[in-house]
C-alpha cells in the first residue's frame, strides 16, 4: 500500500522507452526511491553496539583516572553511567547475541593488536582478554541452559521452528580456542576443556585433556630450553625419539598379546572335544568322585527342571494308536484331581524349569482319589461300593472314554438312578 501511494504521488516513468531497458530502469527507480530510504531507517546493530562499547571503554578509562585522582563523587557518577551502558548492552545481547559477541571479540582483538609501548603491556593485555573468555563461556552456558539462546550443532539440521536463527557453533569456538591456546595460555586451555564438556562428548573431552597435557609438557620444555644450547636441544630430540620408539614397541607387544589371546579363545571354541585331563578309573555309567577314589553315580535328575513337558494329558485311548506302532511316547505327568468342569491340565513349569517345592505342595493329598483313565478323581465311599460291582465298572470305563473333553458329573453316578439303569442296561 505504501509503495502504491508513494509511486502515485511521484512523477511517472516515461513508458515510451524500449521494453528491454524498462525492467532495469524500474528496478533502479524502486531502489532509489524505496529500498534505500527504508534501509537507512533500519538501525545498524553492530554500529550501535560498537558505539556503546566505546562509550563504556571511555567511561572505564575515566573511572580509572578518577580513581587515581581519588574523586569519589565523580566516580560514582561514572559508575552509574557504566551500569546503564551495561544494561543497554545486555538488552542488545538478549536480542542480538551473536552480533554482540562478535563485536566484543573484534574490539578485544583490535585492542590486543594495538601497537603498545612495551612487550609487558601486550602480555598483560592478552592475559586480561583471555581471562574474559571463561567468563564469556560461562555466560553462554547459562544462557543456553535458561533457553534464551540455542546452540547450533553441526550434526543437527537447523530447526526452522526456533525464533532466532542459531548461529553459535560450539565446535567452531573450540577450534578457535584450541588455535589460540597453542601459546599455552591457561585460561584458554581451561576454556577449551569447558567447551568440550559443554559439547558433552566424552571422547572429545579425553582428547582435549590429552592434548593439553602434551602442550603443558611442551611449555615446560620450551621454558627450560630458553637458556639451553643447540646441543641440548638435539639430545632432547633424541630422547623424545627414543621414548616414542619405546611407546611404539609396547603398543605393538600389547597388540600381539591381544591377538594371541583372541586366537587362543577361538582355538578353545574350536576344541569342543578334549581328552579329560584327570581321570580315575570307574565303571561305565559312573563318574569319578572329586574327593575320593570311589566312583559316584551321576545325578541325572537335575535336568528334570530343564524341560518337563507336563502341559498335556493323554489318556490311554489317545496313547493306544501310538503304542500300536511300537514307538515309545514321552510319559506324561499326573493330572490334577478332577475338580473343574474339564479335566484340569498341569500348568507348564517355568521356562528354566525348576519343578519347585511349591508345585509339589500344590498337589493335594491323594486320599480319596481314584485314577480313572489317567485322571485323578475324587471318589466317595458310595461310589467305590458301586464300582465294586463288575457291571458298573464296565459302564464307568466305557462312559469315561471321552473324559478328556467332558466331565461326567457326580450326580450322574448317584442322584440319577435312571441314567445308571440305562447305562447298566447298555453294558449288559
Amino acid at each position: 500500500m505504501d509503495q502504491a501511494l508513494k509511486t502515485a504521488n511521484r512523477p511517472k516513468l516515461a513508458f515510451e522507452l524500449e521494453p528491454a531497458w524498462m525492467g532495469a530502469l524500474a528496478l533502479e527507480w524502486l531502489k532509489s526511491h524505496y529500498w534505500e530510504p527504508q534501509r537507512s531507517t533500519i538501525p545498524d546493530i553492530r554500529r550501535e553496539i560498537r558505539s556503546r562499547l566505546h562509550q563504556m571503554i571511555g567511561y572505564m578509562k575515566k573511572k580509572q583516572q578518577l580513581r587515581l585522582n581519588h574523586s569519589q563523587r565523580k566516580e560514582k557518577c561514572s559508575l552509574k553511567q557504566v551500569s546503564k551502558i551495561t544494561m543497554i548492552i545486555a538488552r542488545l545481547y538478549s536480542t542480538y547475541p551473536y552480533e554482540v559477541v562478535s563485536v566484543l571479540l573484534e574490539q578485544l582483538q583490535s585492542q590486543a593488536l594495538d601497537p603498545l609501548d612495551n612487550e609487558q603491556a601486550e602480555i598483560h593485555h592478552i592475559k586480561l582478554l583471555s581471562s574474559l573468555v571463561p567468563w564469556l563461556l560461562l555466560n553462554l552456558k547459562e544462557l543456553k541452559n535458561s533457553g534464551q539462546i540455542s546452540i547450533f550443532e553441526e550434526t543437527q539440521g537447523i530447526p526452522t521452528s526456533i525464533k532466532f536463527t542459531p548461529k553459535i557453533s560450539l565446535k567452531e569456538i573450540l577450534h578457535k580456542c584450541l588455535l589460540l591456546s597453542l601459546s599455552g595460555n591457561k585460561h584458554l586451555i581451561d576454556s577449551t576443556i569447558f567447551i568440550a564438556e559443554m559439547i558433552g562428548n566424552s571422547l572429545l573431552i579425553k582428547r582435549v585433556k590429552g592434548l593439553h597435557l602434551l602442550m603443558l609438557q611442551n611449555v615446560h620444555i620450551t621454558a627450560d630450553d630458553s637458556a639451553s644450547t643447540l646441543e641440548t636441544l638435539f639430545l632432547q630430540e633424541q630422547q623424545s625419539i627414543k621414548q616414542a620408539i619405546e611407546k611404539f614397541d609396547t603398543l605393538k607387544s600389547r597388540r600381539r598379546v591381544s591377538t594371541e589371546q583372541a586366537s587362543v579363545k577361538t582355538e578353545m571354541k574350536k576344541k569342543m572335544w578334549t581328552v579329560a585331563k584327570r581321570w580315575t578309573p570307574c565303571p561305565i555309567g559312573t563318574l569319578p568322585c572329586t574327593f575320593s577314589s570311589t566312583p559316584s553315580i551321576p545325578v541325572l535328575d537335575e535336568s528334570v527342571g530343564v524341560c518337563v513337558n507336563n502341559d498335556t494329558v493323554i489318556n490311554e485311548h489317545e496313547c493306544g494308536d501310538v503304542s500300536a506302532l511300537g514307538k515309545r511316547e514321552p510319559s506324561h505327568g499326573i493330572s490334577l484331581p478332577d475338580n473343574s468342569p474339564t479335566p484340569k491340565k498341569l500348568k507348564e513349569t517355568a521356562q528354566n524349569g525348576e519343578l519347585d517345592d511349591v508345585n509339589w505342595q500344590a498337589i493335594p493329598s491323594m486320599k480319596g482319589l481314584l485314577l480313572v483313565d489317567g485322571i485323578w478323581r475324587k471318589v466317595e465311599e458310595e461310589e467305590l461300593l458301586a464300582i465294586e460291582s463288575n457291571a458298573f465298572k464296565r459302564v464307568l470305563t466305557r462312559s469315561s472314554c471321552p473324559l478328556a473333553g467332558r466331565r461326567i458329573g457326580r450326580r450322574s453316578f448317584h442322584t440319577s438312578p435312571a441314567l445308571q439303569r440305562t447305562r447298566l442296561g447298555r453294558a449288559t
Binding site: 572335544w273 581328552v275 570307574c282 565303571p283 535336568s303 518337563v308
Partner: protein, 386 residues
C-alpha cells in the same frame, strides 16, 4: 529286454572245477568263483558292474560279496562296497549303513548311523539312508580332477537277509532305485524262504540287460541242517548272531585302548575302558537326538548314560541337503554325564581330528555289550555304597 538268467548247477551235482580256497581257508565253491569272474571280466570298461547280492538269512551273501570284492580288485584299482545289512555289517559296527571305497581308508568311507540292528523299526528312514549312500557313490569320483562323465567304480551291494514282508518291499525298492547290472540271488534249499525267481523287482521291461545269477550256499549241508534243526537249536543260532554283534562292538571299542596293552579277555577290556581318560564335551555344545523313538526331556540323560551313540556331524559340507541325514564318523559310549559341570564323557576310537566336527549324538537301540559294564571289583564296591 535281454535277460540272461543263468542257473548254477544243482546242489547235488559235483562241481565242474575243484573248489577254490581263499587265503584264510574259506571254502569257495566253483560256481561262486565262476560267477565272480564273469561279473569281473564280462562287463564293459565304460560301465563297471553294479552287483546286488540278495537272499535269505545265512545263505552266504556276505561271504560271496567279500569274495566278489576281492575278485573285482584284481581288475579294478578301486571297488565300492555298499553295506546295507545293519545287523551284521562288514566294515562297521552294527547299526550303521556304509559305503566303502576299497582298499578301504577312513577318508574314503561314508557312514550313516541307523541306530538299530534291523530296518523293521523305520523302513522309510532305512531306505532313505541306502539311497543317500547310493547317490554318494554315483557322484563319487576317485580324484577331484576326474571328469563327471568318467566311468564309475564297480559297486557291490550287500543286502540284509530279511526278504519277507516289508523286507521284501524294501529290497524291491532298492533294486528299482539302483538299477543293477548284476543281481546275485542266493538260494537255500527250503524254497519257501527264497526270493521269487526272475526279475521280481520290476514288472516293467527294462532297457538294459540284467544278469541274474542264482547261487547256492557254500555249505549246503549246514543249510539243510539248519532247516531240519529243532526250534530250540535255531534259537541258539539266532543267539549266536547276537553274540557276534557283541563281539563286533567289543572289537570296535577295543581300538580305544592302546595296542601295547595286552588284552585277551573281555574283563581286561572292560577294566581298560573304565580306566582310559575319555573325551569330554560340553553337553550344551552337542545336540542329542533319539532315533525311532521319543524320550521325554527329563529322561534324556537317564536314557543316554552308559549307552552307545552314533557320533555325527550335523552341519558342514558333508550333510546331504536333501535328506538331511548327517554323516556318522563312528560310535561312542557315553561313559558318564556330569550335569553340574555340563560335561559329557565319551569313549570312542574315532581320532580327534574327525571328532572335532561332531556336534550331534544319535541314540538308537544298539545295546552296549553287557560284559563291558561288568567290572567285578568296582561294581561290588558301588553296590556296597548303595
Amino acid at each position: 529286454m535281454t535277460k540272461r538268467a543263468r542257473k548254477s548247477p544243482p546242489a547235488g551235482e559235483p562241481p565242474s572245477s575243484p573248489p577254490a580256497l581263499s587265503p584264510l581257508g574259506v571254502h569257495i565253491p566253483s560256481p561262486w568263483s565262476e560267477a565272480a569272474d564273469s561279473i569281473t571280466y564280462d562287463s564293459p570298461v565304460l560301465r563297471p558292474p553294479v552287483t546286488v547280492i540278495c537272499g535269505p538269512k545265512n545263505s552266504g551273501k556276505s561271504t560271496f560279496s567279500r569274495h566278489l570284492v576281492n575278485a573285482l580288485l584284481r581288475r579294478y584299482t578301486r571297488v565300492a562296497y555298499l553295506d546295507t545289512d545293519v545287523g551284521q555289517p562288514e566294515f562297521t559296527p552294527p547299526g550303521c549303513l556304509s559305503l566303502h571305497i576299497c582298499p578301504s581308508r577312513l577318508s574314503r568311507r561314508r557312514c550313516l548311523f541307523f541306530g538299530d540292528i534291523s530296518s523293521k523299526r523305520d523302513p522309510k528312514a532305512y531306505a532313505d539312508s541306502v539311497f543317500q549312500l547310493f547317490d554318494f557313490y554315483k557322484e563319487y569320483r576317485p580324484s577331484k580332477l576326474a571328469n563327471p562323465g568318467e566311468p564309475m567304480l564297480p559297486l557291490v551291494v550287500n543286502t540284509p537277509g530279511w526278504v519277507k514282508g516289508i523286507g521284501y518291499d524294501l529290497l524291491v525298492h532298492m533294486l528299482t532305485y539302483m538299477e543293477p547290472t548284476h543281481v546275485i540271488q542266493m538260494r537255500i534249499s527250503s524254497e519257501h524262504k527264497n526270493l521269487p525267481t526272475g526279475v521280481f523287482w520290476s514288472d516293467v521291461s527294462q532297457n538294459e540287460a540284467v544278469n541274474l545269477i542264482y547261487l547256492h550256499p557254500a555249505d549246503t549241508d549246514f543249510s539243510n541242517q539248519f532247516c531240519s534243526m529243532p526250534a530250540c537249536c535255531r534259537v541258539l543260532i539266532r543267539k549266536q548272531a547276537h553274540y557276534l554283534r557283541d563281539i563286533r562292538l567289543i572289537a570296535y571299542f577295543q581300538q580305544c585302548v592302546p595296542s601295547d596293552l595286552n588284552i585277551s579277555t573281555h574283563k581286561e577290556l572292560a577294566h581298560a575302558l573304565a580306566s582310559i581318560p575319555p573325551y569330554e564335551v560340553a553337553i550344551s555344545g552337542v545336540k542329542i537326538l533319539h532315533l525311532h523313538c521319543q524320550v521325554p526331556r527329563s529322561e534324556i540323560f537317564h536314557s543316554l548314560n552308559a549307552t552307545i551313540v552314533g557320533l555325527t556331524v550335523s552341519s558342514g559340507e558333508s550333510t546331504d541337503p536333501v535328506r538331511h541325514t548327517p554323516w556318522c564318523v563312528g560310535l561312542g559310549i557315553v561313559r558318564g554325564i556330569d550335569i553340574s559341570t555340563d560335561l559329557l564323557y565319551v569313549i570312542t576310537p574315532v581320532p580327534l581330528c574327525h571328532l572335532e566336527k561332531v556336534d550331534l549324538l544319535l541314540q538308537g537301540f544298539i545295546e552296549i555289550p553287557k560284559c563291558l559294564l561288568q567290572i567285578s571289583k568296582i561294581v561290588e564296591f558301588v553296590l556296597h555304597i548303595l
